[in-house]
């Protein structure tokens, strides 16, 4: 026994020595910065390109080498815990892809406003609708790696084959339902289990986008104008839930959770949806431009078109835009070098790579206008689809409501709970009740966060006073000064409805 233990010990020591000795040489003559980002082949390319970009733009040491070495810290795309634990402990990566709202609330991000102006990655270099994602209290904290918006991809051949009207680029619920019913009726054999659906069931984050777009088209958002109260206890949210339920259970346009589980078991972002779309069991999928990364790998190129999110009758057309933004960590020893990376994200080199890879939209809107974006030479089957996404951002794009009083993940979870309650069992909760409960739970979270932090309470009370004034003015049919409103949706909505005071008239604040 003794000898066995000794032997194993010796083996382990040798193995340890081998392990350490075969480690790649990680020494570097120049400072190293880490970029915490999600895993994908493109990241390696982007890393190498950054090193080249540094040389081309004169960021070099005396002997002409890049001034900094970029290394990747690869993490799962949905896992926040690593960034969270490391950043509060002071050892996070120098550059992080993150939700700026969440990380800023922890106070771990470096203010980049001056650097942005100096190095050319200020807000003028990207979509204006992303401002709420990147800017907090007037200070810029990050720059987009890409810009995401979700639309409906259409399998053109499938629609032609069935002789169903092609989904138009812009449409309302009625058209959506009409085409959908026709599609489902023609594609399925009556009396048998339904195998083909009009579109995939939006799950996870996409489900949130679905519900949010639907309530926003009726002029409602998750929070009120000043983000102090959740406004989901409203018939308009219940209406959206009911409509969704109708699409799933009455019209059978989309699979229910149970049906979806029956068709595919792969979890995750787009999971098996793309396979189902490719084989024609979904006429459409609700997904972003990044679907092309996978679709291009499939054997035969698909004939594709893209439709916007449908709008409620006479409603307000909108679509949620998001971003995977990079920010600089406050505890980084090389903040200045890290800000160079953000500047690289605004460069032509980087934008062109996003254009070519189809990894969502390039950060700079100008690159969504060029030919390489609209008509990639290698993929003529995609022509006509790319501009829909850029249009969706420019014309309809609104950022998410991020209240300073509740983390956005909590809001998303509570809303999806409400959706589950309605969708999984129609008897379990009426949509009004589910809507009310969701609003109550979110407002409870708001109140709770106030008791935790005095400075938050001061801000809250200030905002509540403004909200009162807004409500009074609205009730009296008067216009409201735009600077009172912090909710990105209401800001856009008020302007377009003509409810906002012109800047020249000024407010009383």
């Amino acid at each position: 026994m003794k000898y066995l233990f000794l032997l194993v010990l010796i083996i382990l020591v040798v193995a340890g020595a081998v392990t350490v000795m075969t480690e790649p040489d990680m020494r570097s003559e120049v400072p190293v910065i880490y970029w915490a980002t999600d895993l994908s082949n493109a990241r390696f390319r982007q890393r190498d390109q950054f090193q080249k970009w540094l040389v081309e733009n004169g960021h070099t040491t005396e002997d002409g080498k890049p001034i900094v070495e970029l290394r990747l810290d690869l993490i799962g795309r949905s896992d926040n815990s690593k960034k969270l634990v490391q950043s509060v402990a002071g050892v996070a990566s120098d550059v992080m892809d993150c939700s700026i709202g969440q990380m800023h609330s922890l106070g771990v991000l470096e203010d980049m406003t001056e650097e942005a102006e100096g190095l050319g990655f200020d807000m003028s270099q990207t979509y204006a609708s992303l401002k709420p994602e990147l800017v907090r209290d007037g200070r810029q904290y990050g720059f987009p790696c890409n810009v995401s918006v979700i639309c409906f991809w259409v399998n053109v051949e499938r629609f032609k084959e069935l002789g169903v009207e092609m989904p138009p680029r812009e449409w309302d619920y009625e058209t959506f339902e009409r085409i959908g019913r026709e599609f489902v009726a023609k594609a399925n054999t009556p009396g048998e289990r339904q195998m083909v659906f009009f579109c995939d069931s939006a799950t996870g984050w996409r489900a949130y986008v679905f519900s949010l777009n639907m309530i926003r088209s009726q002029g409602l958002s998750v929070f009120n104008e000043t983000m102090t109260r959740c406004t989901l206890d409203d018939p308009r949210f219940a209406f959206a839930l009911d409509r969704l339920r109708q699409w799933v259970y009455v019209d059978n346009l989309m699979p229910s959770a149970a049906e979806e589980a029956s068709m595919s078991a792969a979890s995750g972002f787009s999971g098996a949806s793309l396979s189902m779309f490719y084989t024609g069991r979904y006429g459409m999928i609700f997904n972003g431009r990044w679907s092309l990364i996978r679709l291009r790998e499939f054997e035969k190129p698909m004939q594709l078109s893209v439709s916007h999110f449908p709008n409620s009758e006479d409603g307000y057309a909108n679509n949620l835009v998001g971003t995977r933004a990079a920010a600089v960590y406050k505890g980084s020893p090389n903040k200045e070098l890290a800000s160079l990376f953000l500047s690289y994200l605004a460069s032509e080199d980087y934008n062109m790579q996003i254009v070519e890879d189809a990894d969502a939209l390039p950060p700079n809107p100008a690159f969504a206008q060029i030919k390489a974006y609209r008509k990639p030479a290698k993929y003529p089957n995609e022509w006509g689809t790319h501009e829909v996404f850029s249009e969706a951002v420019e014309k309809f794009g609104v950022a998410n409501d991020e209240s300073p009083f509740v983390p956005v993940v909590t809001v998303t979870r509570l809303i999806s709970d409400a959706r589950d309650k309605v969708m999984t069992d129609p008897q379990m909760a009426s949509s009004e009740k589910a809507a009310r409960e969701a609003a109550e739970a979110i407002n409870d979270e708001v109140q709770l966060s106030l008791t935790e932090n005095e400075s938050r309470r001061i801000l809250y009370e200030e905002l509540c006073k403004i909200q009162e004034k807004i409500d009074q003015r609205r009730a009296a049919g008067q216009k409201v000064p735009l600077e009172w409103i912090t909710n990105p949706f209401h800001r856009k909505y008020y302007v377009e409805m003509g409810w906002a005071e012109d800047a020249t008239e000024g407010g009383d604040r």
């Binding site: 926040n80 815990s81 969270l84 950043s87 509060v88 402990a89 002071g90 609330s105 922890l106 106070g107 771990v108 289990r193 996870g204 229910s256 959770a257 149970a258 049906e259 589980a261 029956s262 068709m263 078991a265 792969a266 979890s267 406050k330 505890g331 983390p407 993940v409 909590t410 979870r413 999806s416 709970d417 589950d420 309650k421 999984t424 069992d425 379990m428 935790e452 932090n453």
Partner: protein
């Protein structure tokens, strides 16, 4: 022996004891106890990652029991606690499953001699060969052929390699780190295409046509039958407990716990029944019986006295079994009541499992049961079974004990230390459980139905950053496990030493 030398000896003993402990305890102090004490302190503070981290040095405030009072008054906490306890009801079945698997595997698989073993092998090869040929001839689907081939392989391998092969196969799910297992079970549970419902739906069709052919009243009478049975079980339980107490086989603590366990199904279940009268009847009869028991305890004569914790374990197992039975009966009764209307509507439909808040937990429990058969617990039992001295079985055979009697009087007591270990660990892991499952399989949904306490800790601590509160949840959990373990300890050690 002089006192001084005695003291010297005892000091020496402590020194040796600590010496052996040292390597473990040093690491333990640094990597477990230190963080642990910190987390305990923080449970009484407003520790919040949004306020306190490397870059935000607001003073940490100690808020006393605020976190705990908020916790206990939060609906979420109780809901998730309920979920956790519900899922833990699978533990006894899991333990039984792994014990059964271990007992099966430790049987003599060769049929006693070398010759019979080879006969078996030849038979297995023959059966699988003919089977596969027949399937090839019949032109079955490739999948059926594949499964047939696998069955043939296992059979041949099993007869040749004996328990080694089966044991490895049983343990297979643990090699795949959950991911594959979880995805596969999602597939099995698919409501419209999964194999489980494919088997269930014809069965349910038959049931619903049978129900439809009966007048509704007959089926609904099942509710009253169930209520009656619950009362019978309840009365029987009280009678037995009282009798044991009177005979001096059961002490006060055991009696108290057993009575509480027995009463839980009635106290919580009476208002689940769809007919109020049935619930009230149940409550009334139970109340009467309870009063009777109290009277009996107060005034009945007790010729044999027992120590307070005498017979605790047996009584707990006894009432736990009755408790589960009563719950099942109450559930069945309610189902019977609704059956006619359910059957006339659309026929009975099999459950939607993971997509249905009501069925998601049972679905996970079934999965846990399956995983338990070939689990670590099975390995522990296997090791323990081979440790049972053969002489004991021989002695039992001489006494004329049957197979079951041997198991009950020889195997089971010999396995007591292992069972004790497994029970304690299952409780601990059960209360902390469901995190991986919720993260990878259900995200705690639908509608929070599979969110367990540990997943709640995760969402509170890592979504919102309220680590003080998360620590408070953890320590509440700890309190619970601790109390349960104390009981296990007390009863377990007694049990082990018997």
């Amino acid at each position: 022996m002089s006192r001084a030398s005695q003291r010297k000896r005892s000091r020496r003993e402590v020194a040796t004891g600590l010496l052996f402990l040292a390597p473990n305890i040093l690491g333990f102090l640094a990597f477990t106890l230190l963080p642990l004490v910190l987390s305990l302190l923080l449970a009484f503070s407003n520790w919040d990652l949004r306020l306190h981290n490397m870059f935000r040095d607001e003073p940490l405030k100690f808020v006393g029991l605020d976190n705990f009072s908020r916790l206990l008054s939060s609906d979420d906490f109780w809901k998730y606690m309920g979920n956790t306890l519900f899922l833990m009801m699978a533990i006894p079945f899991s333990i039984a499953g792994s014990l059964l698997a271990a007992v099966l595997l430790s049987q003599d698989l060769d049929g006693g001699s070398c010759r019979s073993k080879w006969l078996l092998v030849v038979g297995a090869v023959f059966v699988s060969g003919v089977g596969i040929l027949a399937m090839l001839g019949a032109g079955v689907a490739a999948m059926t052929l594949l499964i047939g081939g696998v069955v043939g392989l296992i059979l041949t391998g099993g007869t040749m390699g004996g328990s080694t092969v089966y044991r490895t196969l049983f343990y297979m799910p643990h090699f795949c780190a959950g991911v594959a297992t979880y995805i596969l079970w999602k597939k099995l549970y698919s409501p419209y295409s999964g194999p489980i419902n494919a088997v269930l739906s014809p069965v349910l069709d038959n049931v619903s046509s049978a129900v439809n052919s009966l007048p509704p009243g007959v089926v609904q009478a099942g509710l009253w039958l169930a209520v009656l049975l619950v009362i019978v079980l309840f009365a029987f339980g009280y009678y037995r407990l009282f009798d044991w107490w009177r005979q001096g086989d059961l002490g006060q603590i055991g009696l108290l716990i057993a009575v509480v366990l027995l009463t839980i199904p009635i106290a919580t279940g009476w208002n689940w029944l769809p007919v109020l009268a049935a619930g009230v009847l149940l409550l009334a009869v139970a109340g009467l019986l309870f009063a009777g028991l109290i009277l009996g305890l107060l005034f009945g004569d007790r010729p044999f006295k027992a120590s307070a914790d005498e017979g605790l374990g047996g009584a707990m197992i006894f009432s736990a079994v009755l408790m589960v039975g009563m719950f099942v009966l109450i559930g069945l009764g309610s189902v019977m009541h609704h059956l006619p209307e359910m059957a006339t509507d659309n026929g009975l439909e099999p459950p939607q499992w993971l997509s249905d808040p009501a069925w998601a937990k049972p679905a996970l429990m079934i999965m846990a049961l399956w995983a338990a058969v070939g689990s670590n617990n099975m390995l522990l039992y296997l090791a323990g079974l081979s440790n049972v001295p053969g002489e004991l079985y021989e002695a039992a055979s001489i006494d004329g004990a049957g197979r079951f009697a041997k198991f009950w009087h020889v195997t089971w007591p010999q396995l007591a230390p292992i069972t004790f270990f497994i029970v304690v660990m299952s409780m601990i892991y059960g209360l902390q459980g469901g995190f991986e499952m919720a993260r990878t399989m259900t995200q705690g949904g639908p509608a929070g139905a599979t969110t367990t306490l540990s997943y709640y800790v995760y969402t509170e601590g890592f979504e919102t950053g309220r680590l003080g509160y998360a620590a408070a949840i953890t320590w509440t959990l700890f309190g619970l496990v601790f109390v349960i373990t104390m009981f296990n300890w007390k009863f377990g050690n007694r049990f082990v030493n018997d």
